[in-house]
């Protein structure tokens, strides 16, 4: 397994370089260094001299990808791409174009993101698995039919509706929780209740439906019939045997997103005023802060690759037949 992980690590390097190049190209197609300078310097009374000075101070006065004026290796190294990207590979995110230490900001902002994402993830999975099991158990009955209809309805509704509806119902109408905001430590709990409820309810439709399908595929297999023949209760059949065997496809979807929980939710954080990494990314895009956008895309890519590796490893844990080679 160690050899597999090392090999995957080396595979990741060209992927990350590719992601960086694409991010770089997409960003600079839309934003020139002059635009970035203007975004930082403001909209009023910005002179050409001020723009040139800002670019020089922040290292945006070099060619983008290839420096034709330079010689040898410097053709590649005396460029914005090289100088802004190479340090990422040692997780030195550098400074934002507004002058802040990106690594420190990420370390501060990932916790609020995690505070919402983790409960939604864990409680959401438990609820989805339970609901899916119930539907699988009552398959063919009116509960199953109406349950599936409800799932389809719930997955057809925009996430924004759940957010605004949740804020209206729980905060504005029932006055049970704050409508938005965040605080440190335990004081954060009252702010997390609403986004967590909204996040869980918003995911029930699709999650339950997917898992129900997976269970139904398993439920007609021979081992299930054998378990029933042994006289096991349906509860033990479903949770003791079917769930275990349905874990591989479930893990495919679940483990891969675990590292991405740090990245946060763009819309949710914005509406609930959560100072996480999702809103950090959105702010950077709006402010044309390339340094932060690049760092967040890089981080997202690394975490996604880590997620895929964890998924592969988790297969071996739930299914002894799978071996990583």
């Amino acid at each position: 397994m160690i050899a597999y992980i090392i090999r995957r690590f080396f595979y990741a390097i060209p992927i990350l370089i590719g992601v960086n190049v694409i991010t770089f190209a997409l960003f600079f197609v839309l934003n020139s260094p002059d635009d970035m300078a203007r975004a930082q310097l403001g909209v009023k009374r910005v002179t050409n001299e001020a723009i040139a000075s800002w670019k020089a101070d922040y290292g945006y006065d070099q060619p983008l990808l290839i420096n034709t004026q330079a010689k040898g290796l410097a053709k590649l190294t005396n460029t914005i791409f090289y100088n802004k990207s190479i340090r990422l590979f040692v997780f030195d995110f550098g400074r934002s174009d507004a002058g802040r230490d990106i690594g420190y900001d990420i370390s501060q902002r990932m916790w609020p993101s995690l505070a919402i994402a983790l409960p939604i993830f864990i409680i959401g999975i438990l609820i989805n698995i339970t609901f899916a099991m119930l539907l699988a158990f009552f398959r063919g009955t009116y509960l199953d039919v109406w349950g599936v209809v409800l799932c389809v309805v719930m997955m057809s509704i925009s996430g924004l509706f759940y957010i605004i509806g949740g804020q209206f119902l729980l905060s504005k109408f029932l006055h049970l929780v704050p409508i938005s905001g965040y605080d440190d430590g335990l004081n954060a709990i009252k702010f997390l209740i609403l986004p967590v409820i909204v996040g869980i309810i918003g995911g029930i439709g699709s999650g339950t439906r997917l898992y129900r399908t997976l269970y139904l595929e398993e439920i007609h297999r021979d081992y299930v019939r054998t378990a029933r023949a042994k006289g096991l209760s349906e509860f033990r059949v479903l949770f003791g045997h079917v769930l275990k065997n349905a874990m591989i496809p479930i893990l495919t979807g679940v483990v891969v997103v675990i590292p991405l929980l740090f990245i946060g939710s763009l819309v949710m954080e914005s509406f609930f005023g959560i100072p996480g990494l999702g809103s950090y990314t959105i702010d950077a895009i709006n402010a044309q802060d390339f340094a932060v956008v690049r760092a967040m895309v890089f981080l997202g890519s690394v975490l996604y690759i880590v997620g895929l590796m964890l998924t592969d490893i988790s297969y071996t844990l739930v299914d002894p037949r799978v071996r990583l080679s």
């Binding site: 009023k44 009374r45 938005s180 349906e234 509406f271």
Partner: protein
């Protein structure tokens, strides 16, 4: 049990209260900000979302009188607003009424109060030996710092005139990228040379090394004694006093600059952009722009009292009740980040924000129009004691023609008549009504109300676009516009070169679905003249590129006043200030020699009938040339709760927090009254769940019994 678990967590009568229970009844003002401030250094900051903080921390020598209108400068830290003394080229003093052309230099001598102390700050702290306690932090100490809290020892010192001069020198430091350096270097003597000296000196030192600006000479800014300094500028520039009322000219103690310049602090995000050091009524105690910013009363704030005079009607509105009382009234101001309008609005209605603007979505809920067309609050708002404040912003949002464009630009009779026809056709009254809920007044020229040079009534009407009727100006008919179009050579909107309807291009940065209605409306305006309007939707960066290179044909743009002077609007049409070639703010690239000459004459004048006469002539010229279809001046609507007092819109001043007073007990009781938890729907929902679960359990049991036989 569920309730028993939850109630201690909330610990308050109102469960949806976003603030700690300990804050109930405290003298705290709650406000919000939508966009995080990026720069709090007064040499760099030039944005309204930053000024709401730093204008209450830093104190320039002058401020705008809170209540008086028209806007009037009053002393803040200065003893008086100085009158400039004029000199000719040979440095001989000139009389006050000397002609602008004779004036080579203006000298402002500013005397500040001697009883002003800075807020407590670690940069002033000294050890037993008398050395600065925190000016030589070790690398290990710096590495452990992520904010200033571990630096527990603080001190203060008296404000000195030298601090103002130090700040003026900072404007010349290219490392700070001060947005007004370019403008100020045209006026303040020696500022350009100082910039070069500083730049040269920086090349000789380490990148982050502290550069003592006191060691550099600036011919245009001198310290005369501890409480007096003198600024010398080229020529006559009356608007300079307005600039000195902005944070750019606030004092900066060199100790603070030196403290924050220590190598390594920048890497720890500890900079003057993040930690302000001022003499104002408040100090920034929490700077977490991702969540909240907290301003706390400055314990060292100097004596300042609430004004005892205002404009007519202020006494009747209760705005003079606190006359003569010491400022500030509020102990703490908490600004929370609210990026979305819906949560902000709902929190205001729940009493968790003391003031709010009105978004388009919530406008109908808050405001209604009376039979006479006036605005009033809805019954719900009135029942809750909410008050409405309205004011016309010192801003212009205009529809511009690129004067370099071969079709709509230039000074030919054809192009002018085409622009005039379009100016008549675009019905801004309708646009304000449909898209701004009536929040705006149609512009008759470049100068908004409240600024010297603006004229009310018939005298202020644009005769190119309007006719005067008994009850006011009425937009000319489409027939007049068609006639002008015909005289321009486009009879019935047909371009004689192509034989097809004239094709014009409008640049728009609005590309989303919410902009579609507005753009469709714009197309319809041109349809009235049988002109085909092509919308060129583009992102803001490309739009700016097109504007700079002169490739935009027609566009919309806006300007917020820096200060209450007509020069700050007229310069938007001054030829040498063109965007193309000069990167100026004249986006229409309008260049009329007579207008330019009058502008040069007017800009240095004090407000007087003669200045008004010149402005009238300038306005008449641009109305005739029509480089803009004049657009509108936005009207600001804001709401405030019954427990907030002394609130009066002041579009020039940003340091207004110190004047507000509030009744925190009334707020607490209203919040509790408005936010009692409603539990019955939760109980009903639980019963419903149970009702669904019962048949499911029964079904499961039947199934199990069947299986077991």
């Amino acid at each position: 049990m569920w309730l028993a678990m939850v109630i201690p967590v909330f610990g308050q009568a109102a469960w949806n209260n976003p603030y700690p229970a300990s804050d109930d009844g405290q003298n705290i003002l709650y406000s919000a900000f939508a966009e995080r401030p990026k720069k709090l250094d007064p040499a760099r900051s030039y944005s309204s979302n930053e000024y709401i903080f730093i204008a209450n921390i830093y104190e320039p020598p002058f401020q705008y009188h809170y209540l008086k209108r028209p806007y009037t400068l009053t002393p803040l830290t200065a003893v008086a607003v100085p009158k400039p003394v004029y000199y000719d080229k040979r440095d001989r003093q000139l009389p006050e009424d000397a002609a602008s052309s004779d004036i080579a230099y203006s000298v402002y001598t500013i005397r500040i109060r001697d009883d002003i102390q800075y807020q407590p700050h670690p940069s002033f702290a000294r050890n037993e030996a008398g050395d600065w306690r925190y000016h030589r932090l070790s690398p290990a100490e710096i590495a452990s710092l992520h904010n200033l809290e571990p630096l527990t020892q603080t001190a203060t010192r008296t404000l000195r005139a030298a601090d103002y001069v130090y700040q003026i020198k900072r404007l010349a430091d290219s490392r700070l990228h001060s947005p007004i350096f370019s403008l100020m270097s045209e006026y303040i003597i020696g500022l350009k040379e100082l910039a070069k000296s500083i730049s040269d000196a920086r090349k000789q030192t380490a990148k982050d090394a502290y550069l003592d600006l006191n060691a550099f000479e600036l011919a245009g800014a001198k310290v005369l004694d501890d409480v007096t300094y003198q600024i010398r500028i080229h020529g006559k520039y009356p608007q300079f006093l307005y600039w000195m009322a902005m944070p750019f000219f606030a004092p900066m103690p060199f100790e603070a600059d030196r403290f924050f310049s220590q190598p390594g602090l920048f890497e720890q995000n500890i900079t003057l952009d993040w930690y302000a050091v001022g003499t104002g009524p408040y100090m920034l105690t929490v700077n977490d722009p991702n969540r909240k910013m907290v301003l706390q009363r400055n314990p060292n704030f100097h004596r300042e009292v609430y004004p005892d005079e205002g404009e007519a009607g202020d006494a009747g509105r209760g705005l003079l009740v606190d006359a003569g009382k010491e400022l500030p009234f509020i102990d703490k101001v908490i600004f929370s980040l609210e990026k979305e309008g819906i949560p902000y609005w709902n929190k205001f209605l729940q009493g968790y924000y003391d003031r709010s603007g009105i978004s388009a979505e919530s406008f109908d809920q808050a405001v209604r129009f009376t039979a006479t067309g006036d605005t009033d609050l809805t019954a719900d708002m009135k029942d809750n004691g909410i008050r409405l404040q309205t004011s016309v912003a010192a801003s212009s949002l205009y529809f511009g023609f690129n004067m370099l464009d071969p079709v709509v630009g230039g000074h030919s009779e054809r192009a002018r008549k085409l622009r005039q026809a379009i100016s008549i056709t675009i019905d801004f009254e309708e646009q304000i009504s449909i898209f701004r809920n009536g929040r705006g007044i149609v512009a008759q020229g470049p100068i908004p109300p409240g600024i010297f040079g603006f004229k009310e009534g018939k005298a202020g009407m644009n005769p190119v676009v309007y006719d005067w009727r008994e009850d006011g100006p009425v937009r000319k008919s489409i027939a007049v516009a068609r006639q002008l179009l015909s005289e321009a050579g486009y009879k019935n909107g047909i371009n004689p070169k192509t034989g097809k309807p004239l094709l014009l291009y409008f640049e728009s940065t609005g590309t989303g679905p919410e902009d579609k209605a507005r753009l469709d409306w714009m197309r319809k305006q041109f349809d009235k003249l049988n002109i085909q309007l092509v919308i060129r939707a583009t992102d803001y960066n490309r739009f700016q590129d097109k504007m700079r290179t002169g490739h935009a044909q027609m566009f919309t743009w806006g300007w917020n006043a820096d200060y209450p002077d007509p020069e700050n609007f007229m310069f938007l049409l001054y030829g040498p200030n063109k965007k193309v070639g000069n990167n100026g703010e004249n986006a229409a690239n309008y260049d009329n020699p007579e207008f330019n000459r009058l502008f040069e004459q007017m800009k240095d004048m004090d407000n007087s009938p003669e200045r008004q006469r010149i402005i009238d002539r300038m306005v008449a010229i641009v109305r005739h040339d029509a480089p803009w279809a004049w657009g509108y001046h936005p009207k600001q609507f804001s709401l405030e709760h019954s427990w907030l007092y002394n609130s009066k819109p002041n579009l020039m001043a940003n340091n207004t927090l110190k004047y507000y007073r509030l009744d925190a007990n009334l707020r607490t009781s209203k919040r509790e009254q408005w936010n009692r938890p409603v539990l019955w729907p939760v109980i009903v929902a639980l019963f419903l769940l149970a009702a669904i679960a019962v048949p499911a359990i029964s079904l499961y049991r039947r199934h199990e019994l069947q299986v077991r036989g």
